[in-house]
Amino acid sequence: MDKPLNNRAWFMVAPVFVLVLFSALLPMMTVVNYSVQDSLGQNQFFWNGDAWFRDLLNPSTEIGARFSDALLRNLSFSLVTLAIEVPLGIAVALCLPRGGWTVGPLLVIIALPMLIPWNVIGTMWQIFSRADIGLFGAALTGLGLHYNVTQNAISAWCTIVVIDVWHWTPLIVLLTYAGLRAIPDAYYQAARIDAASRWATFVNIELPKLQKVLVIAILLRFMQTFMIYTEPFVVTGGGPGSATTFLSIDLVKIALGQVDLGPAAAVSLVYNLITLTICWIFFTIMTQLDRRRYA
C-alpha cells in the first residue's frame, strides 16, 4: 500500500547527500583509483590493472606474505580477545545486582575504561607495562616472569590482549546486563518452582534469551579488534619485530612509510571487503535466528 507521495522530502535529504559524497564516496574512489595504478615517482601514474591485487593475494610475493601474516595475526588476536572478553563480560553482568541504588554507580565505574581516549590508553599502558617503573611490568618481573614488552613477542602480545580486555569488556557487560534485565521475572520464578539449579537456569533461560544481544556484542567487538590500531601502535609500535604488526599498522607503514600508494590502496580495499563480509555473515546469522524464533 502506498502512502500519498510527498516528494518535497527529498530536498531535505540533499545536503546530507552532498556531505556523504564529499567525506566518504570521493575519498573512497580515490583509493580505488590508486589501487589500479602504479607510479614511478614525480606524481606520474600509469595503469596497472589488477596487478596489485594479484600480488596481494599471492603469499609468495613480498607484499602477499606480509598481508597474509598480518591477516593471520589479526584473526588470532580477535579470536583470543573474544574468547576471553565474552565469558568474562557475561560473568560480570550476572554478578551485578538486579535493582536498587547501587546499580547506577556500579555501571558507571565499570564503564570508565571505555571513556578514556584510545591513545591515552596506549600511553597509559606504555608506562604501566615498563619493567622498571610501571606497576604492571614491575609486578610481573617481581613474580619472576620474563616480561619485556619491547623485546619479548609473547609479552607484547599478552599486553595488547590485556589492554583490549581491560578496555572493552565493559561494553559486553553493559550489553549483557541490558539483555538480562529484559527477561521477565516470571521466568526466574518458574525456574525456582521447577527446582532448577543456578547453572540450569543460566543455560536454559538466560543464555537463549541473550542470543541476540550476544550476536550484536560479538559483531561489534570483532569489528573493533579487527581494525585495532592505536593501542598496539602506541605501546609496541608493531614490535618487537613484526610480532604485533596488525593489518592496520602494516597498511600505514606501506602507505605513509614507503609511500607505496598502489599496494596500500589495494590492501585497504581488500581489508575493507573482509570486514564487510564478516559483518554480513553476522547479520545473516541474526536474521536467521529471528526467523527460526518465529517459525
Partner: protein, 355 residues
C-alpha cells in the same frame, strides 16, 4: 495433598501508606477450584504471591496442612504456577520441558517418561512431544506451562495468574474447558486469579470477590449471582450489573423518588432509613402498564433479548423486556421479583424478616 490456611494475613508494601491486603482468614480446601476475582489493584495478585511464597506477608501466617510455611521460599512450598504469558524453556522440546521439573528432582527415567506421557495425553500434547517448544502456538505454549506444573504428582496447589491474558479471544473457551477437565481428572487444589467474571465463574467452585484489598464475598457462582452480599459484587457480576438505587427504607417498604416499593420482608430499624436497594435487570421486567411507573429512555435489541433503559426519577436502571411485549411511548411499568430485591446499608447486605 494440602489444605492451605491463611491466618490473619495482611500486607502492605514497603514505603506505602495503604494496605494492599486487609486482614483476612481463609481456608482453601484440597481438591477444590477457587477464583480470586476483582478489578485491577484489588489485591488478588498480592494474595496469590503470598500463597506462592514470592511475598512475605506483613502480618499473619500461611499454613500448608497445618505446617507454618510463612517463611519458606517458593521452591520449598511445593506449588506450581502458571503466569500471564507462557513460560517455556526455548531450547528444549515439549517433552523435555515437561520432564524438566522431574529431572531436577532426580526422578527415575522411566517414571519420568510415563508421567510426561500421562500429562501430555491429558492436555492433548502427545503429538507435540518431540517438537521444539518455541515453535508452538501461544495457546499450546500455555498448555506446556500448565503441564510443567501438573507433572509433579505431589504438588500441593496449582496457582494461575490471569493465564488467558495473551490467548486469542476465539480460543479462550477451549483452554477454559481444558482447565476444567484437568481439575476433574486430577483433584488438585487450584487457585485462579482474574479480572474476567466469565473465567472466574466458569472455572471455580467458589469465587473470592475482592476490592481494594478486602474480601467482599466468598460464594459459589450461583450464589454470587442470586444473592450478592455487597453492592460491588452485585455491580461487578452480571452483564449488565445490578441496579442500585438510594432509598429510604421503613419496615417493609422502600421509598424511591416518590414511589413506594414493597420489599416483601420486614427490615429492622435502619439509621435515618438510608439504604440502597438493589435488583438485577434479569429479575425485573417491563410491561406497558401496571407496576412501578418509569420513563423509557431506550430499548436495546441485543439479538437474543431486549434490554430497556428506564428512569425512575433521577435513577437510570435496566430491565428486561419480555418476548412478545411491545413497549411504545415514553412510559411503562416496572415489576421487580420480590425475593430478588435486596437492601444494602453501607454497601453491605441487610437481611430482612420474611415472615
Amino acid at each position: 495433598m494440602a489444605r492451605i490456611t491463611l491466618d490473619g494475613i495482611a500486607h502492605s508494601y514497603p514505603r506505602s501508606a495503604t494496605m494492599a491486603l486487609q486482614p483476612l482468614n481463609h481456608v482453601w480446601e484440597q481438591g477444590r477450584a477457587y477464583a480470586l476475582l476483582g478489578p485491577s489493584g484489588c489485591g488478588k495478585t498480592t494474595l496469590l504471591n503470598i500463597i506462592s511464597g514470592l511475598i512475605s506477608p506483613s502480618q499473619g501466617r500461611v499454613l500448608f496442612d497445618g505446617k507454618d510455611v510463612t517463611l519458606l521460599p517458593t521452591e520449598q512450598r511445593n506449588i506450581a504456577q502458571v503466569f500471564q504469558f507462557p513460560v517455556i524453556y526455548d531450547t528444549m522440546t515439549v517433552g523435555e520441558n515437561l520432564a524438566f521439573p522431574l529431572k531436577n528432582r532426580r526422578m527415575e527415567r522411566s517414571a519420568i517418561r510415563a508421567r510426561v506421557a500421562e500429562i501430555a495425553e491429558l492436555l492433548d500434547l502427545t503429538g507435540d512431544l518431540p517438537r521444539r517448544a518455541r515453535a508452538l502456538t501461544v495457546e499450546a505454549k500455555q498448555k506446556v506451562s500448565l503441564g510443567r506444573g501438573l507433572v509433579r504428582a505431589d504438588v500441593a496447589a496449582m496457582l494461575f495468574d490471569e493465564p488467558l491474558t495473551v490467548i486469542d479471544p476465539a480460543l479462550k473457551w477451549h483452554l477454559r474447558s481444558k482447565l476444567k477437565a484437568v481439575h476433574r481428572a486430577l483433584d488438585l487444589l487450584m487457585i485462579y486469579v482474574t479480572h474476567d467474571q466469565v473465567e472466574a465463574l466458569t472455572f471455580a467452585d467458589e469465587v473470592v470477590v475482592m476490592k481494594d484489598g478486602r474480601v467482599l464475598q466468598v460464594a459459589s457462582p450461583a450464589q454470587l449471582f442470586e444473592r450478592p452480599e455487597h453492592t460491588f459484587v452485585g455491580y461487578f457480576i452480571g452483564s449488565p450489573g445490578m441496579n442500585l438505587m438510594a432509598a429510604k427504607v421503613s419496615d417493609h417498604v422502600a421509598h424511591v423518588s416518590g414511589q413506594d416499593i414493597e420489599l416483601g420482608a420486614r427490615y429492622p430499624k435502619i439509621k435515618n432509613g438510608d439504604a440502597v436497594i438493589g435488583f438485577r435487570p434479569d429479575f425485573a421486567s417491563l410491561s406497558p402498564e401496571g407496576g412501578i411507573p418509569v420513563q423509557v429512555r431506550r430499548i436495546e435489541d441485543l439479538g437474543r433479548r431486549r434490554l430497556a433503559r428506564v428512569a425512575l426519577g433521577p435513577h437510570e436502571i435496566f430491565a428486561n423486556v419480555p418476548e412478545g411485549v411491545s413497549i411504545g411511548g415514553g412510559q411503562a411499568g416496572l415489576t421487580i421479583q420480590q425475593d430478588r430485591l435486596f437492601v444494602y446499608v453501607d454497601d453491605e447486605l441487610v437481611l430482612g424478616d420474611r415472615r
